[in-house]
């Protein structure tokens, strides 16, 4: 058993008057557990995410980061625990006891999911404009001119040249594909975005540009973000708070600078000291 060093956790309360007023935490995760067959992947995960907050999840490969994201969005059904999400109406719902139709509706309107590999989050064979417009068409928008306007607007915000709007993302570079995926996720004005290693596989200068872009968008749109990364520099740059995972458990949480500059847990100390200095 690895001891968990962290600030005491405020347990989720479905009847919290703060929630009803709409200013409770956006996401309250408690006791989350997930196993692939008999192989435990997540155990006793507690998290809170406040509106407008960026939370980084760090840890080595296989520590359960991606499984955690899957359980948050409902793609994976955890065997234990609940994921309480505060809807726009000020109601706290458990993502896993919702009906599938209701969960899909919430995911479409309130959630964005940026995948590590943009090829998993994009339709490579249809144009960039259609990729950005699709979430809006799914929501029922049926005006071609307006959809195209929105797509053009968003391509501009993620710094993709306007004349690429009709090109399929298969012809884009990796960095452009990732930016396009971000535009596709933000076009519906979500309240929470999950990002799984958004800078993975990009060279450092492209990474830097993407990070600048993300930082700007997150503050402009007041997004709450759960950012999975193994790159501590990315966490330092973007995240307000950091949780460190090992073997499916959270071993340390705290303000990003606090955790990185004064790591308490042995594993966090190892992680921080493993970063290469050029």
């Amino acid at each position: 058993m690895i001891p968990c060093i962290s600030v005491p956790f405020d347990p989720a309360d479905p009847d919290d008057p703060e929630d009803a007023a709409g200013d409770g935490p956006l996401l309250e995760v408690s006791g989350l557990g997930f196993a692939y067959g008999s192989r435990m992947a997540l155990a006793d995960v507690d998290l809170t995410l406040w509106p407008g907050e960026v939370l980084a999840v760090a840890g080595e490969s296989g520590s359960g980061k991606t499984t955690l994201l899957g359980c948050l969005s409902g793609e994976l059904a955890p065997q234990a625990g609940r994921v309480g999400f505060l809807t726009r109406e000020g109601k706290r719902v458990d993502m896993h006891s919702l009906g599938e139709a209701e969960r899909r509706r919430l995911l479409r309107t309130d959630w964005g999911i940026v995948r590590q590999n943009p090829r998993d989050g994009l339709r490579l064979a249809v144009s960039a404009g259609a990729n950005v417009g699709e979430p809006l068409m799914v929501l029922g928008h049926r005006h071609y001119g307006w959809l195209r306007g929105q797509a053009g607007d968003w391509l501009d915000r993620v710094e993709i040249p306007a004349d690429r709007i009709d090109d399929p993302p298969a012809t884009f570079s990796g960095g452009m594909q990732q930016r396009l995926q971000i535009a596709r996720n933000l076009v519906t004005d979500p309240r929470i975005v999950l990002m799984d290693e958004p800078t993975g596989g990009l060279d450092v200068s492209v990474q830097a540009r993407l990070l600048d872009l993300l930082r700007r968008l997150v503050s402009e749109l007041d997004l709450a973000v759960v950012l999975v990364t193994h790159d501590l520099a990315v966490a330092r740059l973007l995240a307000d708070r950091l949780v460190v995972m090992k073997d499916g458990r959270i071993v340390e949480t705290g303000l990003t600078d606090q955790v990185l500059d004064d790591p308490q847990h042995a594993y966090t100390q190892l992680l921080v000291s493993s970063v290469l200095q050029p």
Partner: protein, 282 residues
Amino acid sequence: MTAGYNFAYLDEQTKRMIRRAILKGVAVPGYQVPFASREMPLPFGWGTGGIQVTASILGYHDVLKVIDQGADDTTNAVSIRRFFARVAGVATTTRTTEATIIQTRHRIPETPLRAGQIMVFQVPIPEPLRWLEPRESENRKSHAMADYGAMHVKLYEDIVRYGQIATSYDYPVRVAGRYLMAPSPIPKFDNPKLDRSPALMLFGAGREKRIYAIPPHTPVVSLDFEDHPFRLQRWTEACSQCGDTASFLDEILMDDQGNRRFVCSDTDHCAARQAAGQGGAP
């Protein structure tokens, strides 16, 4: 019966199974009902779905018409018509007005259908969403949740590439405000004929093992955008046989000099007009 077969070729148990699928299809308009498709004495893609549906609904007093791309005299149409004349001994016709059951490949007759008639469509690919999403499990979920926004991506791409919605056949429709449906590869010219038709429309996909239906008087809407509404194709030419300007025309190359003529795709419609004294430009 005739020729040593059970009436209409299929055994009674099979017909009952198919009729149950048809009834379910009629009860849930546009929903693809799985059924245990049988092997038929013709290859997949030649109308095995349609022929099974026809065999299951055929009665002694039915009059059968079979068309292939609108024509009564092509190989596929002649063979299927002869098949049922032989194994069911039913009367066959080429006249739309006389027929009680019309099995069709890729057209709806120009003559308006009436109550009591049944159209049977041969369907190669019943799943309209397959273009975007090859996973059947995902598509079934989309149907269950009425989650059809992705279909508009195809129309959007058409406008991006061609400046208009260029899908001209198998044009997706929404049936009774609920299920998204592939109307089989009929030209979009025929889509309005599906809407609130007094005739029953049955769709059979033999290889894909699906049956679906549009009951009479069901609203059927073709998908479009507000600023790019659904439009029918029009011809500037008239049929060279009967002079009709409103029917669906086939283009025929006449020689190596590029001379061409246009004729009605619906041969019965064209013949009826000629018999009534209408003629086209030679």
